[in-house]
């Protein structure tokens, strides 16, 4: 029996899938182990551009490890990651950041000693430059130019007034837009260590957005939130995907959220991939039901 809700979902998905691009990221046969513990076994899936991909599974399934591999924190023993057409096994987290991958963490990795605004401004770090070195392509000259540019950049920062101040103000404006978007104006100057958990998660999302990422990895963004907060967060995630076209991969335990907002779902269990498809396909997959979802009763 196909009901109205399912038809609506199918229509929505069909409409959205017209917007999807080619795979932005694909992981192929990734295996990761720590000593004797196999965290990921032969995982392969892809994430298309502009889609919202959910990664679900019971605790210990390897979801966070998967994100860590994509991010560059863990280097898999086998398998490759293809991001924006380039294939690689391992990269450092800051390289991932440069490539446009941003991330939030389960345990909120904010800089507790700094205020909300400062935290978000750190997200702008890669975009902020007083002086950019021209790329000439001449071997040997480019590093020198870059060094010179860095030196001038440093001097301008030491001076502060002038070009540096303008840069700061420009990026402050950008961060303020994000602050407006996520409705966290009131806590701008509060040291994040003092904020409640839900707000910290929002600040972390703001920081990730400040990086203007192409791929946003969210690790349990709704954990510890009540229904209202979850609705807000869902709205933000959908808005980010709508307005900026950001591809989103999120780990989430709340099935309602997953079914509602994600376009496709990957299910992991004990490091293996159980299922991969649209929310409806996954929901009715027997293996997934046995391992994770259970039956309604």
């Amino acid at each position: 029996m196909v009901d109205a809700a399912q038809i609506a979902t199918a229509e929505r998905l069909a409409e959205r899938s017209r917007r999807f691009g080619p795979p932005l990221l694909s992981v192929d046969h990734i295996s990761l182990s720590f000593g004797g513990v196999k965290a990921l076994r032969d995982i392969s899936f892809d994430i298309r551009q502009h889609e919202i991909r959910a990664i679900i599974g019971p605790n210990g399934a390897g979801k966070t490890s998967m994100l860590n591999v994509i991010n560059g924190f863990y280097h898999p023993q086998e398998g490759t990651i293809t991001y924006k057409g380039r294939e690689r096994r391992a990269m450092r987290p800051h390289q991932a950041a440069k490539q446009g991958i941003a991330r939030t963490f389960q345990n909120v990795a904010l800089f507790k000693g700094m205020s909300t605004l400062d935290n978000i401004m750190t997200g702008r770090l890669l975009k902020m430059r007083n002086v950019r070195a021209p790329e000439t392509g001449i071997v040997g000259l480019d590093p020198l130019l870059r060094f010179g540019a860095n030196a001038i950049d440093f001097a301008l920062q030491a001076l502060y007034w002038g070009p540096n101040q303008k840069e700061e103000a420009r990026h402050r404006a950008f961060c303020e837009e994000i602050i407006d978007f996520l409705e966290i104006q009131a806590i701008r100057r509060t040291p994040v260590g003092k904020l409640p958990y839900g707000l910290q998660k929002r600040v972390e999302l703001a920081r990730a957005l400040a990086m203007e990422p192409e791929l946003l990895l969210l690790d349990e963004p709704m954990a510890g939130m009540n229904v209202e907060e979850k609705e807000d967060m869902c709205r933000f995630v959908l808005d980010v995907n709508d307005e900026f076209g950001t591809t989103i991969a999120l780990i989430e335990h709340d099935m309602g959220v997953v079914m509602d907002i994600s376009d496709r779902v990957v299910v992991l269990d004990y490091g293996r991939k159980l299922a991969d498809g649209t929310p409806d396909e996954v929901r009715s997959d027997q293996a997934v039901i046995d391992a994770y979802l259970g039956v309604a009763h």
Binding site: F105, A109, T122, A158, Y160, N164
Partner: protein, 360 residues
């Protein structure tokens, strides 16, 4: 009531991010600086100028340097003494080798050399953290001191192992700041301006991109990487900038405060002294560096006077021991009561001032 910000609107981000956004702060700071530069030289006597104010300014610079490394970037360092020695001896070699080089240039170059040394000894920080790093910086401290003690080239083969600052003036033959012709007033005014400018540079660095990357490394260096911060660049730049300031401080110590110095003056106890200054003053605060330095300079004098007032025949050794004890007790007290130091207490005082005369 006096300190209310009501009515002061900022209409641009630039003005919101200014150093002293509140009008009252601007006025006070301006008055204070005018007082320091134009009034103090005339009302303070030689003793106060030489022993307290000059000493304070030189140490404050070292405190700023260490605060950048330990307070803002979270890399615990016990090697400040060694870096101060580096700056002092570098300045000495430079000015004796190039007597016509202007003394300020000598100071800045000495700082630069110390910055390079600092980067070298900061390399371990890429692999090791916390206390292990502190011990590694001790290696730098001991090695550098041994180097300046044992290798005679640094002291220009002097038999006593001390270096004496040759007389240098700021402009031709006027305004000597080193050597016997230097008057305390000239020294003081020069230092206020020089240290003031350097402190401003430090403050600017700390509130711009570089400073934020330092603080990110301090707070959570793993998370800092995902923002795109390269830990190597951030840590080594912190070592470089910090050593720059500390090196200049050492050069100023040797040339302006002390006149003649041997490597012993920069022993490991000096490193601890600088560390205390930033603990008591407040980690991660430029103002705190000044407050901490002031505290460390004033305390022994106050103690001395109090103890000799109580018992004029008291033994010098006993004064020292009591000083140690009070020192230790104060550190513990500060850490229990206000781990963020005098700077935080100052902030709290300003908060209270906003409401004064109302209690809440």
């Amino acid at each position: 009531m006096l300190y209310r910000e009501a009515g002061q609107f900022k209409t641009s981000y630039a003005s919101d991010q200014a150093l002293f956004p509140i009008r009252q702060d601007q006025v006070v700071v301006l008055l204070f600086l005018t007082f320091a530069v134009f009034v103090v030289p005339f009302i303070a006597n030689q003793y106060i100028l030489n022993t307290i104010l000059v000493y304070f300014l030189v140490l404050a610079l070292a405190a700023i340097g260490l605060n950048i490394l330990t307070g803002y970037c979270g890399q615990l360092s016990l090697g400040s003494g060694g870096f101060m020695a580096c700056g002092a001896f570098a300045a000495y070699k430079l000015t004796t080798g190039f007597p016509d080089m202007h003394i300020v240039v000598v100071f800045l170059l000495a700082g630069g050399i110390t910055a390079l040394v600092g980067v070298f000894f900061g390399i371990p920080s890429l692999r090791i953290k916390g206390f292990y790093l502190a011990v590694a910086t001790l290696a730098a401290q001991f090695f550098l001191l041994w180097l300046f003690n044992r290798v005679p080239w640094f002291t220009n083969y002097s038999s006593s192992g001390t270096i004496s600052a040759p007389p240098r003036a700021l402009w031709g033959d006027q305004w000597y700041i080193t050597g016997p012709q230097a008057s305390p007033v000239t020294k003081y005014v020069f230092l206020v301006v020089f240290v003031g400018v350097l402190a401003l540079v430090a403050k600017n660095l700390v509130r711009s991109r570089l400073g934020r990357s330092w603080m990110a490394i301090r707070d959570m260096d793993i998370a800092a990487e995902i923002i795109g911060i390269r830990p190597m660049v951030a840590k080594l730049s912190a070592f470089a900038v910090s050593s720059f300031f500390i090196g200049i401080s050492g050069a100023l110590w040797a040339f302006i405060y002390s006149g003649a110095v041997e490597a012993l003056a920069f022993e490991v106890t000096r490193s601890f002294q600088v560390l205390f200054m930033i603990i008591i003053g407040g980690l991660g605060s430029i103002l705190g560096s000044f407050l901490g330095a002031l505290f460390i300079v004033i305390l022994p004098i106050v103690l001395n006077n109090v103890l000799t007032a109580i018992d004029p025949s008291i033994d010098v050794g006993i004064i020292k021991h009591v000083e140690f004890m009070i020192f230790g007790a104060l550190i513990v007290l500060f850490l229990i009561v206000e781990p963020h130091g005098l700077a935080r207490l100052w902030q709290l005082a300003k908060e209270k001032l906003r409401l004064w005369p109302f209690p809440y």
